[in-house]
Every structure is written in structure tokens, then in C-alpha cells.
Assembly symmetry: C2
């Protein structure tokens, strides 16, 4: 996020990096200057206009209200407030207007939801959406840099015929950990009572909230694949009215934040290695469904660390600032 504040020339008067007591005192670099990290105590938020939170749900729950009570607007990148009815859940390309209904906290959606709703927004506006069936191919960086490091270590071990250690994936805090290298794990986040995982239910609930439409049906299967960075999604979308494929392609091409890479006959389609370090959502494999006359299939890829997290948070901040002007 700090890198993107800098890259996008965000109007920062003062950057105040906050972290745990353990990291306080360390330096970070911003616009060529060295800034000392302070401890994230309630008082540290005095005088802050916009507070960007990304240190886990429990930290947000504890400190976001403290920041708000000191006058800051919090943009929270965790799951803590996303489904709170008083907290707007925002993807600027989709529901920018919701930002201005905030009561101090604005939530950044889950990475896998963000890229999907950006791709679906033009179809929702033009045809309406009946339901969505999505299967994801999610990279390990969504589970933190330690998970990325573990994938590297495990891959090296497999290639060298050495013992493979698994301590993080699929869910750090659960008891069982599985090899991710050269494997696929159909679990992201903890199990829910209905047999879905929390990640899957995030996609279900957040999509409805962002479109402000409880009538959209969503079913998700969230799967971790041995990719460092970039989430991919196979999305089946049942529209409310008939469509022409050429029109769908045209709508997507004109949609903000979307890049269409769609020419299977020339082997052109989005892939996570190509999406790395890009802030857009890439859409390809656009094709008429074979089982339903109003359904279309899409392949959606984006950098989960950028549009799926940092970029979206900064875009919310930009919208906030432009409104306040």
C-alpha cells in the first residue's frame, strides 16, 4: 500500500507507519525519505485523516474504532467489518457511491471477490445477473508471505527428493497442514456449518453486498494452487436477459479497470504470471454457455496483492479525498 501511495502520487502530507511494538523503531522508505515506524496504540491515530488497516481482523476490531473516535476514516483490508451493515464494502469500479455513506469505517472486500465483481459489473448493469457459479485458482500469497516462502521451500524439497515440511497451508491456525508444492488444496479459510469454507462464503455474501442485491445467487468453490501471485477464476454467469457474445466482449472492453485478453484461437487469455504487478482485472475465455441460453463463461485473473488488496484500498482513499475536496 505504501508503494502504491507513492506510485499513484497520493496527496500524503504525513505518512505515519504503525505496527506492533516488535516492529516499532524500524524504518521504512517513502518518497526517498526514511520514516520511523511507531507502535500502533490508540493515541497514535491522533490527527490522522485516513487510516489504512491491514494487520488482521483482531487488530482492526480493536484499533479501528479508536482511529475513528480520533477523527480518522478507516479503510480496512480485513474481514472484521465487511458484513457490518454500517460499513460500506467498496470496489470503486462497482459501487463508488457507497463510500460516502460511511460512519468512519470503509471495508476493502476479499481479494477473490474484488476481481470477480469488477469483471461482472458491466454485465450486471446491462443484463442483470441471476446467478454465478465460480471455481477459483488462488495463489499462496493470499495466505501471506510466509506461505509464499513455504511454497518455494517445498518445491525445492520435492525437486531434490527431500522431505517436505508443511506448517502453514491451507489454514495456519488449523491443526492439519498439507503440501502445497505440485498439489491443489480445496480449502481456503475455515469450514462453515453449511459445508462451504469461509472464503467461499465471503465471495457469496460480499458479492451481494457490493452489488446491493440480495437476489444474486452465488456458489463458490475456492481452491489453492501452487502459484505465488495472482488469482484466477472460472466464472459461470447466468444473466437476466438474452445477450450477444460480441456485445458482452464490447461491454467488458469498455469497463473501467478491465482488460480483455480473449482470443483462444491465437492462444490469448489471462494467466497469473502475466497479471503480476498489474492493477487491472484481466478477462478472457469469454464464451456462450452450452447448457443455458442466458449464461456466459469467463476466465478472470488479477494480482491478488494489488487490485485484490492494496490498489483497491488506495482507490477508495482516492475517492474519499476527491469527495472531500
Amino acid at each position: 500500500m505504501i508503494k502504491y501511495l507513492e506510485l499513484r502520487n497520493f496527496p500524503v502530507k504525513e505518512l505515519r507507519p504503525l505496527a506492533s511494538a516488535r516492529s516499532a523503531g524500524k524504518g521504512i522508505s517513502f518518497r526517498g525519505e526514511e520514516i520511523v515506524v511507531q507502535e500502533a496504540v490508540p493515541e497514535a491515530f491522533a490527527g490522522v485523516d485516513i487510516a489504512l488497516f491491514s494487520a488482521g481482523g483482531s487488530i482492526s476490531e480493536k484499533l479501528a474504532p479508536e482511529a475513528v473516535s480520533r477523527g480518522a476514516v478507516v479503510i480496512d483490508n480485513t474481514n472484521a467489518f465487511r458484513m457490518n451493515p454500517d460499513v460500506p464494502l467498496v470496489v470503486p469500479e462497482v459501487n463508488r457511491e457507497a463510500i460516502y455513506e460511511h460512519k468512519g469505517i470503509i471495508a476493502n472486500p476479499n481479494c477473490s471477490t474484488i476481481q470477480m465483481v469488477v469483471a461482472l459489473k458491466p454485465l450486471y448493469d446491462h443484463y442483470g445477473i441471476e446467478r454465478i457459479i465460480v471455481s477459483t485458482y488462488q495463489s499462496v500469497s493470499g495466505a501471506g508471505w510466509q506461505a509464499t516462502e513455504e511454497l518455494r521451500e517445498q518445491s525445492r524439497a520435492v525437486l531434490n527428493d527431500e522431505e517436505v515440511n508443511a506448517n502453514i497451508l491451507p489454514v495456519g491456525k488449523l491443526s492439519k497442514h498439507y503440501q502445497m508444492a505440485f498439489n491443489v488444496i480445496p480449502q481456503i479459510d475455515v469450514a462453515q456449518e453449511n459445508g462451504f469454507t469461509l472464503e467461499e462464503m465471503k465471495m457469496v455474501r460480499e458479492t451481494k453486498k457490493i452489488f446491493n442485491d440480495e437476489s444474486i445467487g452465488v456458489t463458490a468453490t475456492c481452491v489453492r494452487v501452487p502459484v505465488m501471485r495472482g488469482h484466477s477464476e472460472s466464472v459461470y454467469v447466468e444473466l437476466k436477459s438474452d445477450y450477444e457474445l460480441s456485445e458482452v466482449r464490447e461491454l467488458l472492453k469498455r469497463a473501467p479497470g478491465v482488460i480483455v485478453q480473449d482470443a483462444i484461437e491465437e492462444q490469448v487469455y489471462p494467466m497469473p504470471i502475466d497479471a503480476e504487478d498489474r492493477t487491472e482485472v484481466f478477462v478472457g475465455r469469454i464464451r456462450r454457455d452450452l447448457t443455458h441460453p442466458r449464461a456466459v463463461n469467463l476466465w478472470v485473473v488479477s494480482d491478488n496483492l494489488l487490485k485484490g488488496a492494496a490498489t483497491n484500498a488506495i482507490q477508495i482513499a482516492e475517492a474519499l479525498v476527491s469527495e472531500e475536496k
Copy 2:
């Protein structure tokens, strides 16, 4: 296949390994004996009862009729005859009876189709199937051992920060090749006119043919993931009648060739590393769809080299032999 003929104690009187002129003269081991490979010329099929073909579609097209004219029954593992109306396409757990309608050639279906239909068979019989929406996570061994070797080489190169070479995937004979290591490629086999790939259309057409039911709707998205061995599939199934989830689980548990691994709350689900060297189809993540009252979601994993190829071919041969007895 030779290994499985041995392991399953198939009644082989004489094994006659045939290959290209280049491989003729080499030795292979069978039941502790060394057998010399002969050149696959038409005359080599004289006296053969069952001919197992697995050397690519063009070889099958040329030599299968030669084998048949010499009295052999051909079990073909390529795409050459699968959709030929005179050729049964067989997965013994699903349509064993079709074997006996052969006119000399029996086709082994595509790996991604086989594991799916084995899992769907009990649901088809009990409820009927309206339509299927499947997204696959296919391992590189489906593209041959060279692709597996390339994934190893590329992975090593990425980990060592060296240049990555891509010469095989996604489709050897096409002009563009992409990095598979730590990436996901949404193309398996060549593009078709409707925007789907041939692999996707194989799943569509073969499923209908195996169930002998053109009314089943199938849409597939076939994706290659950096896994050595074992295909995974996220399958949405719309049934023709209402169902109880407990009954679906029970039907799957009793289905031949199926092992249910389904307890997300205990982190139990199928994964490709666990399916390696197993001949069964593993099913988990069984859950009620959130968007359709008659739909169920499944996660289906199997070893694409075994049940997806060799094991299924030998099972067909076993059925043939048991009939002939």
C-alpha cells in the same frame, strides 16, 4: 498398462510389445521376463486377441483397422475413434454393457471425462442429471512425460532465478508455449470454433455418449495447473429431482470405484498428491448448491495416468475376457 496387466494378474498368454521402428529391439520387463519390443507393422498383429493402443491418434487411425482385420479387439486410448458411432466408449463402472456392442474397436475416454462420469454415475441412476458445469485442475502428466520434465525444469529455474524455457505446454504442436511452473494455463488442447477447447468439448461429447443421453447439458472449463500427476475437478451438478445430501453421500460411498473423502470440518477432502498411484476416483466437498434447489457441488480427484488411462483400459480388457469365458 503393462505394469497394471501384471499387478491385476490379467490372463496374458503372450505379451507382444509394439512400438516405432526406433524403439524396436529394446527390451521391456514383464513378470520378471525380458521381452523384446517389435516394430508396430500391420503383420505384427497376427494372432493377437486384445490390442491395447496408446501411441497417439494418427497411429491408432492407421493401425487399429489392421489389428481388427487380423482378429484382434482393439482398446484404443486415443481420441481417434471415441465419437465414432460404431465404437463403444466405455468406463466399466458406468456403461460396461456397451463393451459387447463393439465391432472390433473399443475406445477409452479422455482422462478428465472418466473420473467425472464415475463420480456422477450413482447420481445419474438415482436422480437423473439435468446439467453439469465443470472446471478442471489438470496435471501436466496428461500432456506426456516430457511436460512433467519441463515442469520440473521450469520450477528449478524459477527457484534459482534463472531463465525459464517453455517448449511443450499448453499444446506441443501450437506456436506459443507458456511457462507452467507457478502458473495456471486455461487451455488444454486446440481451440474449437465455438470458443471452447478440444479438451472441453471432449468432456461435453464423451459424457453424453457414455451415459447414452444427449439430453445432459455439459459445460467445461479445462485448466492446466502445475501438478505432476492427478486431475482435480470442481463439479456443479443439477439433478432432475430433489435430493437429500446424506443420501448423495451414501450413494457415492456405495458406488464402485469411488472413495468418499468428505469432512471439510476435519480438513478431509481429496487432493492430487493423495490420489497418486491409486486406481479409484476420490470425491469430497459434497455440498448443497446455494443457487439451485436441485444442484449439488462435488470435488473429484483421480490419478489421470491410472483410472484416467491405463486402469480403465485394463478394466475394459478384463470385462472383454470375462465375457469371452
